[in-house]
Symmetry: C2
Subunit: 436 residues, 2 copies
């Protein structure tokens, strides 16, 4: 296997020979063998070990084992302890996903801080195969079957073309010790079931099954890339940038074949999974929405408008008296005492400070809001005001109000309320300016 590994490096990752490498080492069979192989191939590497503190003494034994390995090979070792359970809870993740996120984030931090060129992980062909089956069991698409990338985002997986059997044989032949794998128990159960009950049947029918599978998966990967190539042709024709996110051209979407599949591909990275709902949005009434956990898709005449869900939605921000500036998430307000009304632009208003009730409040508009538009008689529902201006839904949703008590002072950047305007000559005037 030593020779095969050197060949793999030479043919697939020749640049590794002149790189500064970080190897992710759990202490398990695969990563320990990877470390020894890199050592034999005389690569320039350090080790990184995560202690997820999920299994008490066992986790610590792994850490000690890796420390001894590093000392033995005379290479640098980085160790980080994580409170995985807490991170999982705080971020609403499974323990397994939390460990994964913590691990890769830390590798990337280390890589940048210590100027490593690449991080190596020890995923092998059987990992790929098991992941393929796990995704198949849970339900997936092409992306779940086409395997992990051998080389992406500074992470390289040089053992992907080697089997667990080869790795184990190498360890045994060379008397290389290792710790039992510290993977998540429930995944371990599933992987073990696949490893011991499913894969052997496939191998009984086709003794070269793992090899065949790697070929199949490389075809699937190619197919996936073709779809990406296609989408990169379509994207510029379908997607536009808006002030708050993206717009998707409904007419163009209806013209291309397989609209529903295209929509799914476009939107999956925004957390949309049930693309049939999205598909039906194309013919829905304007105003109809579909939500993912992070984004909102709104039907708006000829476009679907994609915006991030703003978690500050219902928040009311306050501005105290005598502030010259107020920097808020939606933008900055400045307050300036002036002698006269100089220029009138949409991003400023001139108000009578005596009429203002402090603290001023900044909030989003709500159904039922009413104001007294400057330059008009009487009052008007804000919803009608927006309708007359033909605002798009995200524009409406991103409309902020400056309020004095319950009264609207300014539909920001759109229209002042005349109740606060200057009525007497030589009175005090405050110019309020809003900038993004």
């Amino acid at each position: 296997m030593e020779k095969a590994f050197k060949n793999e490096i030479k043919s697939q990752y020749p640049y590794l020979c002149n790189s500064k490498i970080l190897i992710a080492v759990s202490g398990g069979l695969d990563s320990v063998v990877l470390t020894h192989l890199c050592n034999t191939a005389k690569l320039d590497f350090s080790l990184a070990h995560c202690n997820f503190n999920l299994r008490d003494e066992e986790s610590d034994a792994d850490e000690d084992f890796v420390a001894a390995l590093a000392k033995n090979l005379k290479v640098a070792l980085f160790i980080e302890n994580f409170d995985t359970e807490k991170y999982a809870k705080d971020n609403g993740l499974s323990t397994q996903m939390a460990a994964r996120e913590l691990r890769y984030n830390w590798f990337e931090t280390l890589r940048i801080k210590h100027q490593f060129d690449f991080t190596l992980t020890a995923h092998h062909a059987n990992d790929s195969l098991e992941t393929f089956f796990i995704n198949l069991i849970r339900g997936t698409g092409l992306e779940g079957l086409s395997g992990i990338n051998a080389d992406s985002n500074y992470i390289i997986r040089p053992l992907l073309n080697f089997s667990r059997k080869e790795i184990l044989a190498y360890a045994e032949e060379n008397n290389i010790p290792w710790q039992e794998d510290s993977t998540n128990a429930s995944t371990k159960y599933l992987r073990n079931k696949i490893r011991h009950e499913i894969v052997p049947v496939f191998e009984e029918i086709n003794p070269q099954f793992l090899e065949t599978f790697l070929k199949t998966q490389s075809h699937l990967k190619e197919n996936e890339e073709l779809i990406e190539d296609y989408l990169s042709l379509l994207y510029p024709k379908i997607i536009g940038k808006t002030a708050y996110g993206y717009s998707l051209d409904i007419n163009y979407l209806k013209k291309v074949p397989n609209t529903s599949a295209i929509l799914y591909q476009l939107l999956k990275s925004f957390g949309f999974t049930e693309w049939n709902d999205v598909y039906h949005l194309l013919d829905a009434q304007p105003g109809k929405m579909v939500f993912s956990t992070s984004h909102r898709l709104v039907k708006d005449r000829d476009y679907l408008l994609l915006t991030e869900i703003d978690e500050t939605e219902d928040k009311v921000y306050e501005i105290a008296k005598n502030e010259d500036f107020a920097m808020l998430p939606m933008g900055t307000f400045s307050f300036l005492a002036v002698d006269d009304i100089h220029e009138k632009t949409s991003n400023c208003i001139y108000v009578d400070p005596g009429k203002l009730e402090f603290p001023l409040k900044v909030r989003k508009w709500q159904k039922g809001d009413i104001f007294y538009p400057f330059g008009m008689k009487g009052k008007k529902k804000l919803s009608d005001f927006f309708k007359d201006k033909k605002l798009s839904l995200p524009d409406k949703e991103n409309s902020w109000l400056l309020c004095s008590g319950e009264k609207i002072v300014w539909v920001i950047n759109q229209r002042a309320d005349r109740r606060f305007s200057i009525t007497l000559p030589n009175q005090k005037i405050i110019k309020i300016t809003f900038s993004l």
Copy 2:
């Protein structure tokens, strides 16, 4: 299931209610249940049964069973006997592929002859799943995993969303008898292994596995369609028609991303499987070739030229004396006695009949062929002649010779041999014309 079937028809294949239908019935569980369901749904159908004569009395028992079923339901029945083993041998196919080809060809013949709108087959969800695994075991690409079409080429498979379990339960509840499936024994072995040893493990982990799988497969089908959409955009830019087949634009192929995957997609229907060889052809010396069982791909400067392999390659055709016309596979020759040389075009020559040795022979050129070009002194190698004319390889390969004994009379449509030309005034002249 009766209700679910009616709903499936209503939502997926509403047009079946007004169609004249042919149901393919083996006599096995699935096709017999399909027949009963169509009967309950009051569809207008006839039955078609193939006797492949692969299992002697058993095959005949199936035939009798289907005959009784048709009589019982008072519907028309078509039966055809096939010598499957012979067909398989004659066409170099496995028994299973032979049966498949015979079956579908016959259904299509029946459909056209008796004006059926559609043929129905009884493939169900478990068939799809088993095929998925069989293809996975043997090695495949996206097309092998994305499942058979529910609706293609006048064949409809309305049970694809139903499980074997549902079909079996329906048969038992309604006391519907059936014959044991008459599928090919070796496939049956493989399917049984998958059915009894693989699928149950998946279902133990995910009890809704079959349902999940159908969703996964519909995503894969969508992915496959996206690739087809992409290729239909690329085709006109890459492929051109030539006199003998197609040309593929090498420069364009090198410009698009994932060239190798595109080549595979373009060429798979011409029997090319090892697309790495094809990929290397892009940078090969002109003249280099790759073969599939049916086609030849030749590198020729800026193009790959795709031509069918001509099985008549080495054949020599003869033209007897006193024929006015000779219709041969490569075109038609006409022989006309004329008084004088009227017009000289590339598709005719004027020869001295006294110099011709009958029967004339028509054959492809071979290495070493030499002739005496009209209008030139001396003799010339045909290979040099072609080189001077800068003929493409397929043009060379499709060059035919009209010969008299061993001597070339005419490099057809290119150049006459001066040994047969008219040298004396008032002599007999024969005008030989060639037309495609």
